[in-house]
């Protein structure tokens, strides 16, 4: 039976996809190579990983405001995450998700970087405030 986890109602439409999880923070400017579609910051726990079309599961937001524009441009170029799941975001991530139309949820009862595993198949429903684990990664 699928596991359904509740969170605060989010932004964007419901999507399904594969999770990429790390206990680390996020900024599109600080962390990504937005030409190659990978995490480029050497100290990031996802350094070298492709974020394209993955459901990113991370702790929180880093500084900077650029993500508010960048998600929109990344989506137009087809190199955007499919959804974002955070413990708690700052306004920039929410603004960027709203502007780009990227699904975003946060504020779960437990740490999302422990609730979800890389490779989990998830369904994110921002309007309902739920994330369903369709298939657990091995």
């Amino acid at each position: 039976m699928p596991i359904v986890l509740r969170c605060h109602p989010g932004i964007g439409r419901a999507v399904s996809g594969t999770a990429l999880v790390a206990a680390d923070n996020f900024s599109a400017r600080y962390d990504l190579d937005r030409n190659r579609g990978i995490f480029a910051r050497p100290s990031h726990k996802l350094a070298g990983h492709s974020y394209v079309d993955r459901i990113l599961v991370l702790d929180g937001a880093k500084g900077g405001v650029a993500t508010a524009w960048m998600l929109h441009d990344m989506k137009a170029r087809g190199i955007v995450p499919r959804a974002l799941i955070f413990n708690r975001v700052n306004p920039i991530i929410a603004q960027g998700a709203a502007f780009a139309g990227v699904a975003l949820v946060d504020r779960f009862a437990d740490d999302v970087t422990r609730l979800f595993r890389t490779g989990d198949n998830l369904r994110v429903d921002p309007a309902a405030g739920t994330v369903e684990i369709l298939n657990r990664a091995a």
């Binding site: 605060h8 109602p9 989010g10 932004i11 923070n25 400017r29 600080y30 962390d31 990504l32 190579d33 030409n35 480029a40 910051r41 050497p42 100290s43 990031h44 929180g60 937001a61 880093k62 500084g63 900077g64 405001v65 650029a66 993500t67 508010a68 524009w69 960048m70 929109h72 441009d73 990344m74 989506k75 137009a76 170029r77 708690r88 975001v89 700052n90 306004p91 920039i92 929410a94 603004q95 960027g96 709203a98 502007f99 975003l104």
Partner: protein, 410 residues
């Protein structure tokens, strides 16, 4: 969210497509953060560098700007954060004609909204500083934290789309640091000794920022025995916002608001010279060939420009090292008039206006110029540039210039 008649009219499109887009975007963000309603803002500060916008963002702005003039005019004084291109020097920086062309499109578009092209992240030092209690929509983390903390104004981090939306509607959702309840202190630090220069103030901001690690934490910094000054708190706040995503701090007796803790005050965490030294040591690279030295992030005040001029006077930068000094157009004009630009550029350094380096295609500049080792006195800049392929080093103004003259990190 509870909407007024006018806000409902905007939402219905009765005031034009730009304001309908703007309030729709703001409602989505406001509901995400459980805002009950909107609050009027007195000014907006819009980050819209072309590296972040990309072609898609520029096309979006052009689409909004195609509306009739009465429908697209901003409702409150609205200004811009640094741009991606300084047209006087972009070729020397290795930026392309395509980047410059995109920049021209954005300038034309923002001007069509009635946005004032100030191109600065130090608007609080060079344009108009907000007053205590003033609700604003600022779009640079350094500007937000300075306005919230030092001046007691009220702003969340308003990224480019949201700051533009606030400019078009004249309001912003009432959540986060627009609310009194969110401004209470949650963390407590005590300075054992005063930082000795702007670089060390940035280091302390980085230390506190890493310890906080969240937009929703509000640190108190105690133990100051002298008033730091505007440039010191600019560097401190910018680093705190960069390393921790923090938007508000309190320094009792110095910043604008009385300290009220959310709950029982925690024991203070001491920060002393060994902590600052350890922070700087993370970026140390003695002996490395030095490709580029940058003074920016935030842009330099007039006093900082004068300090750079004093340190470079009569010296020559090493021919294999590029030195960039970035400031706002207003300060650049003042520096020109006062002879500071000529003194700085006589050394081989050059002064850039209206840009802030990391917002200027930093990755492409590195690739075009073969830059890897960068040195700066800005903790914020070293934090950002790690993801752009640079190996950044952090040092004080004199250390940076001495290294630039030597062509290697000293």
């Amino acid at each position: 969210m509870r909407l007024t008649d006018e806000e409902n009219a905007m939402l219905a499109g009765e005031l034009g497509a730009p304001r309908r887009w703007a309030i729709t975007h703001q409602i989505a963000v406001g509901e995400f953060f459980d805002a009950a309603d909107f609050v009027g803002v007195s000014q907006a500060h819009i980050m819209a560098d072309t590296e972040s916008l990309g072609e898609a963002g520029v096309a979006f702005l052009e689409g909004l700007a195609a509306a009739p003039e009465p429908e697209r005019r901003v409702r409150v004084p609205s200004i811009t954060d640094p741009r991606g291109i300084d047209f006087a020097i972009y070729r020397r920086l290795g930026q392309s004609a395509a980047m410059a062309a995109l920049e021209r499109r954005v300038i034309k578009t923002l001007s069509a909204f009635g946005v004032l092209m100030t191109d600065t992240c130090i608007n609080y030092q060079t344009v108009i500083a907000p007053l205590r209690g003033e609700h604003v929509a600022y779009g640079d983390t350094g500007a937000v934290i300075y306005a919230n903390s030092v001046l007691g104004a009220r702003s969340n981090f308003e990224g480019g789309p949201s700051a533009l939306a606030a400019a078009l509607t004249g309001r912003t959702p009432r959540y986060g640091y627009q609310l009194e309840a969110c401004r209470r202190a949650t963390r407590r630090f005590r300075l054992v000794a005063s930082p000795r220069d702007l670089c060390e103030w940035g280091a302390v901001g980085g230390i506190v920022g890493e310890a906080c690690g969240s937009y929703w934490q509000v640190p108190v910094i105690e133990g100051l025995v002298t008033v730091p000054g505007s440039d010191a708190l600019k560097q401190f706040g910018a680093a705190l916002a960069s390393y921790g995503s923090v938007a508000l701090f309190h320094m009792p007796g110095i910043t604008a608001e009385d300290v009220v803790f959310a709950g029982a005050p925690p024991d203070p965490i001491p920060i002393g010279p060994p902590d600052i030294a350890a922070f700087l040591a993370r970026y140390a690279a003695p002996g490395d060939k030095l490709d580029v030295v940058v003074f920016a992030a935030p842009q330099l005040s007039l006093y900082e420009m004068a300090a750079v001029a004093d340190v470079v006077d009569g010296r020559q930068i090493h021919p294999d090292t590029t030195v960039i000094v970035a400031t706002s157009p207003e300060i650049k004009h003042a520096a020109d008039r006062m002879g500071l630009t000529a003194r700085i550029e006589a050394s081989g350094a050059f002064v850039a206006q209206g840009i802030c380096f990391y917002q200027s295609y930093a990755r492409e500049m590195a690739e075009a110029n073969g830059w890897t080792r960068l040195m700066t006195n800005s903790a914020k800049l070293v934090n950002i540039l790690g993801g752009y392929g640079y190996r950044p080093s952090l040092g004080g103004l004199e250390h940076c210039i001495d290294s630039a003259v030597a062509g290697r990190v000293l």
